[in-house]
């Protein structure tokens, strides 16, 4: 899967900085580095999980890839049928056209549907935009989509307030599917739902992936969900990617201390499986004043002198022929030791 043919999106050096403005003339006094220098590949047909604490830049990363937030610098190469193009330098008109290939499902099903539109009204918008001018045709298409997400088709005449959270989220998914995209960003798509409904939506997403041959970027803070659904996982901390690996590899062979602490902090719903916690001290630092060196060093239980001054470079190790990338000084030194031996 590592050959370039299957790469759908190549992100290189992506930086999304929000300016901090102050004073009468709104001088820019600094930047919130929500996403800082991120490199990543999204392969065709995979489910890529993105995890991290709140404020670590998960959502900003997802939106920056879709150009819903204009990044400050970097490149996002998308593999179009006619060849790879950089979304960052595209004209607005072309970008609008490109949006039929990539869609997003938002976190909060209560605010992502317009309350004064019927479901038909909300769902027809993308169809009109992408050239389905005949109303009957649109109706037919929407009925199909609603069926695909296990909702009766006569729901399209109703208003969002008549639906429960789980139903709304399914409508949101149906809307994202309406333009037959290849790539969907699910931004905390199941976090706002009750546990019993969460499983329904997760299974629906898996089913749709098979049917429509989709690629997901699944953003969540819930590691148990991500372990269940994704092929590969990205762990983010303070705007940086700290670890990328296949799901099984990440849980079996955790390399970064942050990932380790994150996994150990999750309460596991299995009473026979109580593990030792690695408590982290303090909170996530402010991204306006990120710590020097490794961003994780003030909370890291294994912090060394080098971590305080030097920013670690990503290291890619090959484990069973699959890459496992980690951004930590400790891993490097361990590797060096192995080499010496």
């Amino acid at each position: 899967m590592t050959d370039d043919k299957n790469v759908l999106i190549r992100v290189r050096g992506l930086k999304t900085w929000y300016p901090v403005k102050k004073g009468v003339f709104k001088h820019t006094v600094g930047y919130v580095k929500a996403v800082d220098d991120v490199d990543l590949d999204v392969y065709r047909g995979e489910i890529l999980g993105v995890v991290g604490e709140s404020g670590c830049g998960k959502t900003t990363l997802g939106k920056s890839i879709l150009q819903l937030i204009r990044p400050y610098a970097g490149n996002v190469f998308y593999d179009f049928p006619e060849g790879e193009k950089d979304l960052m330098t595209m004209k607005k008109k072309d970008l609008d056209e490109a949006r039929r290939r990539m869609q997003i499902v938002f976190q909060d099903p209560y605010s992502s549907l317009n309350p004064s539109f019927t479901i038909f009204g909300s769902m027809q918008e993308p169809l009109i935009r992408f050239g389905m001018k005949n109303k009957e045709e649109r109706k037919k298409k929407i009925a199909e989509l609603l069926q695909a997400v296990n909702l009766p088709e006569d729901y399209m005449e109703r208003y969002p307030n008549e639906f429960s959270g789980g139903q709304r989220q399914r409508i949101g998914i149906a809307r994202a599917l309406s333009v037959s995209p290849e790539f969907i960003v699910c931004d905390e798509a199941v976090s706002a739902l009750d546990v019993s409904i969460q499983a329904q939506v997760l299974q629906l997403l898996m089913k749709l992936k098979e049917e429509y041959k989709l690629t997901y970027m699944f953003i969540t803070h819930d590691l148990s969900v991500v372990e269940y659904i994704s092929d590969r996982i990205i762990v983010m901390y303070l705007g940086h990617i700290v670890e990328i690996a296949d799901t099984q590899e990440l849980f079996a062979n955790t390399l970064h201390p942050y990932t380790e602490a994150l996994i150990s902090a999750i309460p596991v719903a299995d009473i026979n499986q109580r593990r030792k916690r690695i408590p982290l001290q303090g909170d996530v630092p402010s991204p306006v004043n990120p710590p020097s060196g490794c961003p994780f060093h003030p909370r890291c239980p294994k912090c060394q002198d080098v971590c305080k001054t030097k920013k670690p470079e990503p290291v890619t190790l090959m484990k069973n022929g699959r890459p496992h990338t980690v951004c930590c000084h400790l891993v490097k030194t361990e590797e060096r030791k192995e080499k010496k031996e």
Partner: protein, 341 residues
């Protein structure tokens, strides 16, 4: 009547109704449980099942248009049995109990603190009201000590700061400090970590376990996360639409669930460490409208084992084993079958 010395709060057959717009919502329909000294009792359930209402009725914090229709809440305090359900909600006795005898931590720490007073002032308030401190100076000293116990760095400085200067985790610690200021016998925590990140959640749980050990406090923890139950609970009660459907020792309930709802709930959540092989079984349908409840067993419309008998009425309580209660006709039938064999 002989009474177990360890029982601090006893809730028996509690019925609570909410009235609004000429409609009546029977929120609690016969809830019984006991809180024991130095034990953590967890109530789990989906949103709208009456978890928070149970907590609020113990604290006497029910809204004005609601009434305890039936049942009793007995609080054993200073050698007396106090009937909380008979006290005036805003009366003198209730005000004395709140904070001194029992205290509550709310879900969202950012909104539970008053933004216009310093954190120190708000902790002092409880101390001064309940004669925990002789003067404001003395109270501040105690507040600093409390914040220190809760693991807030630089408590001397922090005590003079306002809530907006605190992060979510720290605000929750301040809330716990406030709740623990008069060393209450009972601590009620209503989803204390839902708004917090997992790493901060782990910190708060360590703190609560610590409090349980050192002060012998009875803790009522309300949550929707089965993981939290597995990690923390001594006893657990599973609620569904205003009834406790299964309760008992946490290990017994989680390893040998008897009620179809508990089973379905446990099957519908992804468990960390089980990877993609685990099969999720979503619960079909969604929770019924509280104004239009099913006639019999509340779970019958979603239950895989439902029979016509289930529509006749709520099943009686039956014991699965010592200290493990379940309310289900299906379970009763199974038991009878075993007895006949």
């Amino acid at each position: 009547m002989e009474r177990n010395q360890d029982v601090v709060v006893k809730v028996e057959d509690l019925h609570v109704n909410f009235y609004n717009n000429d409609r009546c919502n029977k929120v609690l329909r016969g809830v019984s449980f006991e809180l024991k000294k130095g034990k953590i009792m967890c109530i789990v359930g989906e949103s709208g099942c009456g978890k928070s209402v149970t907590a609020n009725s113990i604290m006497g914090l029910l809204p004005d248009l609601s009434r305890i229709e039936k049942g009793s809440i007995t609080f054993h305090y200073q050698g007396e049995d106090i009937r909380i359900d008979r006290l005036k909600r805003k009366g003198k006795e209730m005000r004395k109990l709140r904070g001194e005898g029992m205290a509550m931590i709310f879900q969202d720490p950012m909104t539970a603190l008053n933004p216009v007073f310093t954190v120190g002032y708000q902790i002092n308030e409880a101390l001064l009201y309940h004669n925990g401190a002789s003067s404001r100076k003395d109270a501040t000293k105690k507040s600093i000590q409390l914040l220190k116990e809760m693991g807030i760095p630089l408590p001397k400085q922090r005590v003079k700061e306002y809530p907006h200067q605190f992060s979510g985790g720290m605000s929750q610690r301040a809330m716990i400090a406030m709740a623990m200021s008069c060393r209450p016998k009972v601590l009620i925590a209503d989803e204390p970590t839902t708004a917090l990140d997992v790493t901060i959640q782990a910190q708060i749980f360590e703190l609560m376990l610590d409090l349980k050990e050192t002060n012998d406090t009875a803790i009522l923890l309300i949550t929707h996360d089965m993981g939290v139950v597995a990690e923390l609970a001594d006893d657990v009660a599973v609620m569904y639409m205003g009834n406790i459907v299964e309760s008992g020792d946490a290990r017994a309930v989680l390893t040998r669930p008897s009620h179809p709802y508990t089973k379905a709930l446990l099957d519908s959540i992804p468990v960390l460490g089980r990877g993609r092989e685990q099969k999720l079984e979503p619960i079909k349908g969604s929770t019924p409208d509280p104004y239009n409840r099913p006639a019999g067993c509340q779970f019958a419309p979603r239950c895989a084992y439902a029979t016509p008998e289930c529509e006749t009425g709520m099943p009686p309580e039956s014991m699965v084993e010592e200290g493990h209660m379940c309310r289900c006709f299906h379970h009763l039938r199974k038991k009878e079958g075993e007895a006949n064999d």
